[in-house]
Each structure stands twice: as C-alpha cells, then as structure tokens.
Symmetry: C2
Subunit: 248 residues, 2 copies
C-alpha cells in the first residue's frame, strides 16, 4: 500500500552548488528531510533552511540508508544525497539492496536523480582527457579484494583505457597508488600525461599535471582523483587532451 513516502537518491554534483542539476536542486527544495555525509550536507546548507537535516560520518553508509528508508516509510519526502552521482561509488546501490530485503519498502517510491560525477568534473578541469574510451577504478580495498583491483588495473592498462582512479590514497592506504603506477608503467610510457585533481569544483580546487613516471612523487590524498592518460593523450599548453582521432 502506498503511503506517499518518497525517497530521492540525489547526486549533488562534484562540489559547487552551481554544478548541481536543476532537477536535483528542485527536489532538495521540495523535500522534508535531507540525509547525507556531514561534509556534503554542509556544502548544501544554503538550500536546506527549515528542513529536517540528518548528517552522519564517513563509515555510517548503512545507517544513513536505513534511516532514509525509515523516514520515507513515515510518509516523508526524503533526499538521500551523495556528492557527484549517487550511482557511482555513491549510495544508490546500497539503498536499493536494502529496500529489496524489506517488504515494507514497497509502500514507498524511489527515484534516482543523476549528478555530474567527480571524475567528469575533474576531467573538465584539466581539459579533455576522456575523449576516448575510459575506465574508473577505486583503489579502496575495504569492500573489494585487492586481487580484483589489481586485475582491473592490469586490464585497464592493457586495454589502453584512459583511467580515473578514485580513492587513490589515504593516511592508512599508501601502497596501492604505487602499485597502480607500477602496473600502468609496464604497459605505458613514463611520459604518459597524468593529472591529479584535488577538491574538484570546490573553492580550494588544485590541479597537478604530471607524467606517469613522476606520479609516485606527487602529493596525493583522499581528496584527490587521479587521471592516467592513454597512448593518445597529450599535454599541449595548459590542457590534457586525448585525441579522438579526427584528421585536422
């Protein structure tokens, strides 16, 4: 039975409120309750006046999703927000999995609201590195076995995919990015252009343009995305560009 509860899985874009879609903004403004990771929710605060706002910490993903479902079951219009897109290393999958296991969820309607993913904004910030086939790989081995990640790094490197690395390094995970560079270096030239984009689309955004051979010496942390070019990627002037192959 429908209780009119609605759950919106909203991608709020990479950072700046301007990079949010019109639809995401309208939905946030129409919702009763907004739930998300503390840092992201605070970026949204100009839009949240008068709403029930529920923040939680980094490792509280399941709790956040369950809370969002409970609030929707109470008949509320709920936005569960993820930065970037909710379906790319975000909350969408977990919510849908939890709803499938809870027969009460049939009473609420759920809608995915796509956003500009962080890697897309990072690419735009450095030029046009994703003009040809690409892959995205998270180096976090909290939920995925490291052997699987290594297999993917090898496949992406071998297949000449421009590759975006999410979660490249944290204070506890420092060896993974070095291993990734090692793997790519067996297939790609040391002069392959790479970019590190930190805090993309936020006021403190910073960009490091470098090469595969130098990547290990660069500052990289949790707030960074790393883009490794393919065999057609060049740096010309200010921009990192992967040629699509037009005859110019």
């Amino acid at each position: 039975m429908d209780n009119n509860g609605m759950l919106f899985l909203v991608g709020t874009g990479p950072g700046s409120l301007e990079e949010m879609t019109v639809r995401a903004k309208n939905i946030l403004q129409a919702c009763d309750t907004v739930i998300g990771y503390t840092t992201y929710v605070r970026l949204l605060s100009p839009l949240l006046t008068g709403k029930e706002v529920l923040e939680s910490g980094m490792t509280q993903e399941k709790e956040r999703c369950r809370l969002a479902i409970e609030k929707a079951l109470q008949g509320k219009k709920v936005a569960l927000v993820s930065s970037g897109d909710s379906g790319i290393y975000g909350m969408s999958g977990l919510v849908l999995e939890l709803m499938e296991r809870d027969s009460r969820s049939q009473a609420i309607s759920v809608e995915m609201v796509p956003g500009v993913p962080a890697f897309v904004a990072a690419a735009a910030a450095v030029g046009a590195p994703l003009m040809n086939d690409f892959a995205a790989i998270s180096l976090s081995d909290l939920l995925t076995p490291w052997e699987t990640i290594e297999k993917r790094l090898n496949a992406a490197a071998q297949g000449d995919f421009v590759t975006c690395l999410y979660n490249p390094k944290s204070s506890k995970r420092i060896a993974q990015i070095d291993r990734a560079v090692e793997i790519f270096s067996t297939y790609r030239d040391a002069h392959t252009p790479c970019a590190i984009v930190r805090s993309v689309s936020r006021p403190e955004q910073s960009i490091t343009m470098t090469f595969l051979g130098q990547l290990r010496d660069c500052f990289i942390d949790m707030l960074c995305l790393v883009i490794i070019g393919n065999s057609q990627t060049v740096v010309t002037g200010t921009w990192m560009i992967t040629s699509r192959g037009y005859d110019l």
Copy 2:
C-alpha cells in the same frame, strides 16, 4: 592580446532541460551565440530566445568547432554545446586541439562546463549498475580502428568491469554489437544482467532489461546505450544493481 571573446564548452546533460546543471543554464542564458548539432540545439530552444543560434548536422564536428572559435575571436560569448558531457565523446577535445593549432586562439578564454553524461543518466534510469568499477567503450569504428575496440572489449570483459557501450549499432554498423556480445560471453555468464536504454532522459525514453545471452535478439539502434553488468550485478525486482560488497 585579450579580445574578451569567450568560448564555453557546455555539456547540456542527457536530454531533459531539468538535467542540465545550474551553471550550464546560466552560461547559455548569458551567451551571445549558441552552436551545436541540430537535434541537441532544438532541445534547448526554450533557453535560446534572442540569441544567434547556429546548428549543423551529424558529421560537421570540425566545422562546428571552427565556427565556435571564429565567433569567439570576433569577441562574442559563445557556447558550443554537446549533449551529456562535452568531454565524453563530445566536442571538448576537438576544440582544444584546433585552438592549439591556431595562435590567434590565445586571445580568447575557454572554459569547460561539465554535464551529466548520457551513460550516468542511463544507469540511474535502470537502478544502480555502476556501483563498482566500470568502463565506457564506443563501438563506432569511424575514428578508432576496430582492432583497438576489440582489444578494449576483451580487456573490459576480462577485468570484470561493468561496461557501457556507446554507439552500439547504426543502420550501417550492425555486426559490432554482435561481436561485442560474443567477446563478453567468453568471460561472463549468459545470465549476466544487461540493460538497453533508448533516448535516455527524453519523453520517449524506453528501457529493455535483458541478459547477455539474449542481448543480440533485442532491438538496438543509434539512440541506445547498452550497459553490461559484471559478475556482481543482479536484477532484483525492477532494478539492475551491482553490489558494492557491503555486508547486509
């Protein structure tokens, strides 16, 4: 010398005007001239009243980019629009390559304005298939040799990437999608969930949920995106979900 000409490479999102970012919308409204592929420009017409609007056909990419540069060199604020994101199989790379070859271009400023890519909207429309590592591959061999595309299909399939196929089939290119399915079938089960999303985010959007073993029998054309799940992708009820690996 700066002539105040500005060139914005704008991703207008997958289709609906609501899926455009606030920034893209503001920039379109502030521009003098809007240039793009006929079909996309017409979708934007509610925003373009009173502007110089220059449309061109499907194969006129270079001409469009050159025209955009010329207009900016005349001191105009120009938006060159791509659907989805301008940096993903869009116009950004070509424009930047052309500008690098034309010293007059130093007089104009260029800015990339990211948008929600079509594959991200397609994923949101079917659930959450991109919750783990993924790849995007275009099956069009107009600009990329087919051997390279086959190499990437093999790599993506072997690496267990959720894979989005752009340009899966046209009236003239019909064998490529069959070959792609053949390649994936050597690495993945015939019951691997797949989705075909046609005209994503437009009023005529349609979705076909299927399996790798049946994909070849489904209707696919130029307006479709195909998403092939990985070994962790399931179809539960209405949704296609790739598990991220949380212990539920």
